[in-house]
């Protein structure tokens, strides 16, 4: 499905990517001046995915960023000052200095859930957000991100599996940036495409060139619409590269130079600039105008942060519990009677449509093979069963829960904008022994 985006949207995608990069460049300078209190994590090279995916969300939608998703935060409406003040531990930051980096959220206005350092944990949480909002009658989508490294956690598995059985409107973006701290993806996962993992959950997945902001955006937009239509969840794997070390302290000497060079040629901002120029979507004047707007905004926002105080020490003791400081209110967008008795009342019984045995074709093949082998017909050679059960949804339908819709058939769609440089694959990195 090809979807056109307007010139204005093309320019906005540029604006947010450039804002993302300029903001982080400034933070590197602040880090060197010892004005960043803790670690500083770069998303250099990942801007297209952060910005392109979040740009597919509506205001009403929910998201939970990871540490390298400053672009997504900016798109959702977080002002740059919040990023500065968070990193500088100022009292004016969204967490009042209680936490740093992108570890903050905004429940009521922006619908952003704060990440924590433990990877994968956001996936079950955002599954719950998606389920909760659906229960309340909100037509919203929840989006979160995970890295290649984080996709090996148990929370990833549990969260995605639960989202799948619940058909939760969740878009999970796997940012495959090739490195989990110092460990290459090949040493973490024995499959080339992390999107393949989605098959095991019965979840549709797509692969996209994570350095092509237009392709990323269009892929994400389709995923969001699919979820909004009740056909979620969807996994998107974006192939890209972390162009710096894990954090500022890490020079990333473990990354082969050629690998950096390969990806430097695919810099997402340079690519998008070229795209804009070639398609006559802007000119030098327009670019200068946008860049100047970013410069001015960041000057103001950085000054605000630098002039902000640190939190008063007594704040350390406050806010462990909500003691009436929040009003918690369920905002029902559907008739409440629907979830109250007698209307909600149901027969408590499972509707089991399939009893879980081998399907007939597989069983026949197994029996044939077994008779050839002159072994007991009840023995199914593992190779036969495995080969025939693997695949695309033609196998036995295990079970349909009472509120389940039709099953996904596990097909994976190619992204609208597939990577163009497919011929020359990135150098596969082998670990040294």
């Amino acid at each position: 499905m090809t979807r056109t985006i307007t010139r204005e949207q093309h320019l906005e995608l540029y604006y947010y990517m450039r804002l993302n990069r300029e903001l982080e460049d400034r933070m590197v300078r602040l880090f060197r001046q010892n004005k960043i209190v803790g670690g500083l994590y770069s998303s250099l090279g990942q801007e297209a995915t952060s910005v392109g995916t979040a740009y597919a969300l509506d205001k009403r939608d929910w998201m939970a960023p990871m540490i390298r998703n400053i672009g997504a935060l900016l798109v959702k409406g977080v002002p740059p000052r919040d990023i500065f003040t968070q990193h500088m531990a100022r009292y004016t930051s969204p967490t009042l200095g209680k936490d740093g980096t992108s570890h903050f959220g905004n429940l009521d206005k922006l619908h952003i859930v704060s990440p924590i350092s433990m990877l994968g944990d956001l996936i079950p949480v955002m599954t719950g957000v998606a389920m909760g909002a659906r229960c309340l009658g909100h037509k919203v989508v929840a989006m979160t991100w995970i890295g290649d490294g984080g996709s090996s956690t148990g929370a990833f598995y549990e969260g995605l599996n639960f989202a799948a059985v619940q058909r939760a409107p969740l878009v999970l973006v796997i940012e495959n940036n090739q490195w989990a701290y110092s460990t290459p993806v090949q040493r973490q996962v024995p499959v080339r495409d992390l999107a393949d993992r989605a098959k095991a959950y019965g979840v549709e997945s797509r692969i996209v060139d994570g350095t092509d902001v237009v392709a990323v955006h269009q892929t994400a937009k389709e995923a969001v619409e699919q979820c909004r239509a009740g056909k979620g969840p969807v996994v998107i794997e974006a192939k890209l590269m972390r162009m710096k070390g894990h954090a500022q302290h890490d020079p990333a000497e473990y990354v082969p130079k050629e690998m950096f060079e390969y990806w430097k040629a695919r810099d997402p901002i340079a690519r998008h600039e070229k795209h804009l120029t070639e398609n006559k979507l802007w000119d030098a004047k327009k670019k200068a105008e946008i860049d100047a707007r970013i410069e001015k905004l960041l000057d103001e926002e950085q000054a605000f942060a630098e002039n902000s105080p640190f939190p008063p020490p007594e704040l350390a003791e406050q806010g462990v519990y909500c003691e009436g400081c929040h009003q918690i209110r369920a905002d029902w967008k559907r008739p409440v009677e629907e979830v109250m008795p007698p209307k909600a009342s149901v027969k408590a019984a499972w509707n089991v449509e399939d009893f879980g045995g081998l399907d007939e074709a597989v069983a026949k093949q197994a029996a044939d093979t077994a008779s050839v082998l002159a072994s007991s017909p009840s023995v199914i050679p593992r190779s036969v069963a495995t080969r025939d059960l693997r695949g695309t949804g033609s196998g036995p339908q295990r079970f349909l829960g009472p509120q389940d819709g039709p099953r996904n058939d596990n097909k994976r769609k190619a992204a609208t904008h597939a990577p163009k440089q497919k011929a020359k694959a990135p150098a596969r990195v082998r670990g040294r022994k």
Partner: protein, 324 residues
Amino acid sequence: MAQVTFLEAIRQALFEEMERDPAVVCLGEDIGVYGGAFKVTQGLLERFGWERVIDTPISETAIIGAACGMSYTGLRPVAELQFIDFIACCFNQITNFVAKSHYRWGAPVPMVVRGPSGGGVHGGPFHSQNPEMYFTHTPGLKVVYPATPYDAKGLLKSAIRDNNPVLFFEHKFLYRRIKEEVPEGDYTVPLGKAVVRRKGRDLTIVTYAAMMHTSLEAANLLAQEGIEAEVVDLRTLLPLDKETILQSVKKTNKLLVVHEDTRTGGIAGEIAAIVCEGAFEDLDGPILRVTALDTPAPYAPSLEERFLPQAKDVVEKARELARY
């Protein structure tokens, strides 16, 4: 007023809260069609439907994570862990995600995690544990461990209405063994308030959950010897009602702490420190404790009996303390 079991009291609380507030939803393993491993949630699905009573995969991390996410949208989820021992599987979600949410970024998590805990039913090492202290050590959580049907119902209602994450431990030995008159209609028992179950002048026994009954049994035996023990039921471990503990110790001048949790790092140590800080000059004897052994919970009845504190152990320690 009707006599109801500990288990029925909990079920009533869930029913009544779900009737009162459509934002209350339940999720957990086998809680819907099957009605829960102990049948605590039996009947909820029939009444409140699939969207508010959710059977989950065997995924404790997903259960807690999803409950947390639901609470961010304004719902008040009650997550059941089939046995509280499995709370170890979602330790990270509870201690890092849920507990720190309000402090870090001002997002309250109004959810309850409940499940059957404790020993005495020959459940072995993984179906008998008392993991409350891992969480009592975690700022941001509230930890409730009731001893009577009346309290179980009233405390669970308070927990569901609280704006903070509450861990609600249900001692499975008590589920069908104790009955009590519980008033019909709505009532709550406040979190963070202990109660004096038996008045006495000679020593204070601070305890909670199933050990409250063991301690009362011991106190009755002690009374036959002329030793009058005051029994304080903590009901909530976090926040801890320091006032009630100190008040009682200032009156009796002696303190014995009894808990079913293992000894090292159990709440007895914390209470001893609180009493030393707040009532040291009132003490006429050492602070003593009766606890489970510092071992995993063993399976064979003979081993489990040795592992768990018995009324006779409480009597013995109380006599020792009374001699000072």
